[in-house]
């Protein structure tokens, strides 16, 4: 049975199917690690070096006010920002979710998670990809995508960790504290 992404509220349908089709859940052993796909990192690094190369090329022309060199230099900041914002790896254990970024890391207590759900993002040229949203007690939901292990594996791993925390009463205790 094939379910098309163009169905209305497809992300709700996907979350519903994943929650109810329990045989699909591989029940991964925790802690479990996820890593960013090499393709995304490679594209960002190439854009960075091309921008830096363009900037150096125009600097060498020797003009005092060098708009192209400045533009390329500023453009090189975009891949740096993208690299900083992309999660490079992630470890899910029964009590915490650790997301590693370039030069910093974010630790989220599993007990503070209020929901795990699928989301759909659509590109301007018809491309479509699945993301996993992590809803929290405080703060904005965290969007996770581009991990090489795939959205389904990530979803089930997060859901299993969250379910374990719920079963042990940690989620309820955390909500009572807040």
């Amino acid at each position: 049975m094939n379910l098309d992404y163009r169905l209305d509220r497809f992300q709700d349908l996907l979350s519903f199917v994943a929650d109810h089709a329990t045989n699909c859940d591989p029940h991964p052993s925790l802690p479990s690690s996820f890593h960013i796909g090499y393709l995304e990192q490679t594209v960002v690094v190439i854009v960075f070096f091309v921008s830096i190369g363009g900037s150096i090329f125009f600097v060498r022309t020797g003009q005092s006010i060098n708009a192209p060199a400045t533009a390329f230099g500023l453009f090189a900041l975009i891949p740096v920002a993208m690299l900083a914002a992309l999660p490079h790896s992630m470890t899910v254990s029964t009590d915490s979710i650790i997301i590693n970024y370039l030069g910093w890391r974010r630790e989220i207590a599993v007990a503070s998670v209020t929901g795990v759900r699928f989301g759909i993002e659509r590109g301007s040229r018809g491309s479509v990809w699945t993301v996993v949203w992590l809803d929290r007690l405080e703060g904005r939901p965290i969007k996770l995508r581009g991990l090489s292990e795939g959205s389904t594996a990530l979803y089930y791993c997060l859901r299993d960790a969250w379910q374990t925390a719920k079963d042990s009463g940690l989620v309820q205790a955390m909500q009572n504290i807040r």
């Binding site: 049975m1 094939n2 379910l3 163009r6 349908l13 089709a21 389904t152």
Partner: protein, 113 residues
Amino acid sequence: MDEPANERVFEFPSSVRLFLLPVALVCGVIFLFEIFQPSLNNLALAAVAILVGGMQLRSFSRLRYRVAVSDDGIRYMPHGDSPIFLQWSEIANLELRERLGDARLVNQRCDTT
């Protein structure tokens, strides 16, 4: 089979189908124009119209179904055909195929319906 009370139905937004049909119609008009007033100059355009129009009609025919989910299982309801029902316990795998733009549910007997 009676429909459960808590069933949620998912269908295609009308905008998706409304986009496909006009394109197919325009392609059909171009093709008919070539049929009734044959011209070597417009032959390539007519060939492209057949190709694009055929693809649009194929996409349109594939989008003529609805899906309903409940606590019992998932019901696939193709237009003009009998529905297929799968219990949740019958589904063995959920495969997201982003390049093809669909999610594939594989049942326990490892065949797709």
